[in-house]
Symmetry: D2
Subunit: 343 residues, 4 copies
Amino acid sequence: MSAPLVARVVLLGASGYAGLEFLRLARRHDGIAIVALASREAAGRPARELSPLLAAAPGAWDLPDIVTPEAALAGLADGTADTLVSALPHGALAELMKLEPAWLEGPRRIVDLSGDRRDGSLGFAYGLPEMNRTRLAGATRVANPGCYPTAATLAALPAVEAGLTAGPFTVTALSGVTGAGRKPALKTSFAELDGGAAFYQVGSSHAHVVEMERNLTRSGADTTPRVAFAPQLVPMSRGILATVTAPLSRPMSDADLRDLYAARYRDEPFVTLLPPGEWPATHAVRGTNMVTVSVTAVHGGTTLMAVTAIDNLVKGAAGQAVQNLNLMTGHPEAAGLSEISPW
Amino acid sequence: MSAPLVARVVLLGASGYAGLEFLRLARRHDGIAIVALASREAAGRPARELSPLLAAAPGAWDLPDIVTPEAALAGLADGTADTLVSALPHGALAELMKLEPAWLEGPRRIVDLSGDRRDGSLGFAYGLPEMNRTRLAGATRVANPGCYPTAATLAALPAVEAGLTAGPFTVTALSGVTGAGRKPALKTSFAELDGGAAFYQVGSSHAHVVEMERNLTRSGADTTPRVAFAPQLVPMSRGILATVTAPLSRPMSDADLRDLYAARYRDEPFVTLLPPGEWPATHAVRGTNMVTVSVTAVHGGTTLMAVTAIDNLVKGAAGQAVQNLNLMTGHPEAAGLSEISPW
Amino acid sequence: MSAPLVARVVLLGASGYAGLEFLRLARRHDGIAIVALASREAAGRPARELSPLLAAAPGAWDLPDIVTPEAALAGLADGTADTLVSALPHGALAELMKLEPAWLEGPRRIVDLSGDRRDGSLGFAYGLPEMNRTRLAGATRVANPGCYPTAATLAALPAVEAGLTAGPFTVTALSGVTGAGRKPALKTSFAELDGGAAFYQVGSSHAHVVEMERNLTRSGADTTPRVAFAPQLVPMSRGILATVTAPLSRPMSDADLRDLYAARYRDEPFVTLLPPGEWPATHAVRGTNMVTVSVTAVHGGTTLMAVTAIDNLVKGAAGQAVQNLNLMTGHPEAAGLSEISPW
Amino acid sequence: MSAPLVARVVLLGASGYAGLEFLRLARRHDGIAIVALASREAAGRPARELSPLLAAAPGAWDLPDIVTPEAALAGLADGTADTLVSALPHGALAELMKLEPAWLEGPRRIVDLSGDRRDGSLGFAYGLPEMNRTRLAGATRVANPGCYPTAATLAALPAVEAGLTAGPFTVTALSGVTGAGRKPALKTSFAELDGGAAFYQVGSSHAHVVEMERNLTRSGADTTPRVAFAPQLVPMSRGILATVTAPLSRPMSDADLRDLYAARYRDEPFVTLLPPGEWPATHAVRGTNMVTVSVTAVHGGTTLMAVTAIDNLVKGAAGQAVQNLNLMTGHPEAAGLSEISPW
């Protein structure tokens, strides 16, 4: 049996929260070697200066110095690296690709954490393993899901797959502030955010709505269901709570729904269906790649109500990227994902 | 014209958050005189010891010393006071009444902040002025609404009254931790709560579900609509965000819904319909009796989605109690409610 | 008796925390009229857009629209305004003055909240009323003290004035994050700051050290005492706790020190000496112009240890500016300062 | 060479924060086996119910069920266990010992995290390895230091040992709220604590003052120096910042002091002297057994000012207990201490 493959990774967007979380996970993963890490604003500085938290972590100094994105991509061109993980904002990787389109043609692996390729364009597979595992095994290009779509899709997936609901779906969710990125802004400053919660982009204007609509379409269905979304920002650093409701095609009992979910998620390493009377809490998944789910039939059994909790930076971003890399490279799916984030 | 009536108030439950907030408001109200304030655990101590915040407030020392509930009720029996405001937990006032049922028969005014009489039993009017103002004018017994029902009802009321929806309703809401009361508990301690959010009592088990179902029943309707509820606790002290969705009986545009809501709430002193593209935030209503509302038609115009923000201790408790007292005693409805809470 | 003078104020730096707090106080002050308010980045927008908190405050819409600093200063030149309150960062007002030095020569009043003139240059009086009230009455130019120097000076002042200590002084203090200003920065973002506290500029490099050394020099003393300072940033929005220690020239008992402090502060409207066994807390002064003080003799009576709490934006900035304006214009010193900040 | 010794541990006080942290560390330590864990209020329940955080941690279910302290101590009597780690509050272990004094006479190891035996009574060695390593190697009874004394002692130790200062010492420190224990109380509830900081027990009344005075006495000195202490509670869960000042016996430069500290702490695995211009922050040590130190000479070189940061639950409690167990049992001193706490 051959030695397990080690992905030699170029990381773009290393100074953002998802990038930092990917670095944390990579340190504990035998199958991931960070060959280059890039951040335009931090180029030229040692990796430990990316974050005071990283500075405190043992082993941080083994990372290479930060370079520009262009310099990092050169490592892909010359074969030093074989895998690109991009934690850049939406659109930024496409901009870089314009500079050097050739490199994308090689056999290298790409995991893109932005929303750019979640529509499957350019041959990207959608990286939600619980929904799409078969296509992800051995894939070379993966679009990592958004944080809200991960939480919402896993809340409704068993019912959708079983044909119990075709929407329309209502999704309400709250998120910790790292979901808004690491770039300083007044609305995410401590003094403005602390002590208050706020809605934003209520309705269907949020960029994640289309992604949720795709995910909640049953295989073979003629039409895409509608999703309405009410996201909320709350004063905490990490975590998402999501509620999904949708009409059921036939009345269900709580027990029926639970049985369905239990069977569907029995073998999923990162999904936990909570016992009756327990409900998801972000603290219980903080720093992990876990999803906790509770499901109930409401409105006299005519409506699905399913709730989930995830850590937006792990299962909602960097942890799921590692899970996808594991599938792409043949590692056990949970490899490198057992540490709870100390941040 | 006669001088405005001054309610001579006995306050029960003075050491809880709603009780403290009522004291804050009463200090600025010419028509409310605190004759006695009661807290079993704090009896015998000066009012300023109820809270370090109260201690810092100018005028706190003009309040009478804290007494037992029984002693405070005696003031009603002997005519010293004419109004009872109870901020006791659910069931506690009924227990006290067993001891001395006679006094309840007099002509005195009662505002009960607990959930005990929100079903209208014993002749209590339901104290949501925006829905029930006519019955509250001059009423002698008022059941003050729950915090979640206030936020949810005002989100859906215009659509219900206009016959645009008869449910079923889905309500998701997050609340700051003062909604859980002031009694110390592990789950509301700083170290356990900070940094995390959690669902609780998802489905229809929360005590507020029945109250919401009553409120969202259209006048004259044969049946009561069903409400499903997903409440969430978040790490902040005050504030509620609520989302209400329900099928519309005919497709509506955002503009149509907004026009309906604008007309319905035009003359409401405490309800603000936000401009398109703005969404409720708890910071903007913190410490006030205001409700902010946004409404949109989702799922291709077939579903109502309305969101609101309130301060759970003001419009959700003590501020609404003052608003009700104003209606009961003939004061302007907004009297004593202009100060933003400094706490 | 003539009607009280109304200061017609131009406010520079309206979009910062001190500027916003000054606006809050001015709204409740009969002797302050805001004639113009300036913020370079917010020029052209209505005042309510300065802050979501301001937007929620009744009366916010009565404020004039925001203009550039240059436009606002023009109002001083043409006599529309007679008072300049500058909440600009250090050095910024001096830069503006270079553009139009003439206007500074008029009879107008200036209160500068920056550190530029706390050394008394250009004829500015130092605006700590408890130390310098005589010079402030009727003054035309006042340099408003820094937040840390206010907290530290009032901790030691009675002992210094009584000749009980000539230093050296050690000051440790913690501050809420509004003390770092409102400009977004990574270190004051919610996700980076929440849950942690940090030292900064320990020793004598902080800009406030020189100001403290001046303040703690006894009148007539030949030399200026040394101050060492250890400031700390903690995860809260407002408030300062300060500890000052210094050797006593002769051993004192706790009771002796308390008597001295009680006598010294007896007539100070904004200083409260706490009873033995109670210690300053920021919550008890939050949103107020109050200073709470406790004092004890430690090291066998040979060392003064005095601790204080203030709100850095009120007594440490805008509230003290109003207190100074009251002295400058002949209003009662506490005029307009009774409201507790709702923010 | 023989296999390393495995301590078979009975843990008392498992439901408190220090007890929980000890469990976290023990899971990753090859030399610690938890034989029994006790908590009077949680007896009979599975270990995972001690905390939602523990429930989420992999491996939590391998722990034995919770028992009463008496039942746990029986395991020591019958030889099942050989090591007692007590995270009980001060005085509680002594109470238990009265019931069964005999067992204390055996050869078993004891680590007591309370303050009861830090005076060395009953043959307990003081468990601050950086100060007392020689006595701890192979010791059978160790009194684990208090959190504040750990932070303060390590700030001043090099200067004391070098004879550069004999006090008196002034210690100011802030602590996160887990330092106040896990028992629910109004003052540590989220709604009361959030947003504010407070002094408590300023002077020399705090129980830790005597411990600091002992620690800061130079070996062979005739007298014990005085310590004055100003502790402060701030709104965060974990972490201590401490400042220690004391007169120097001869003037020193910053560089001289730094050289002294660098030499003293060069070989200490858990102490980091920060570079000039960097200062301790709790985030950088959160969840670790590390101490960060900065030192400067103030007041013209005549006064030592040293500042430190620790995690009060790790180096200030459970981590130091593991460090001591390592010394007691011959393991490498850092064994089991590399994980950063995910809580």
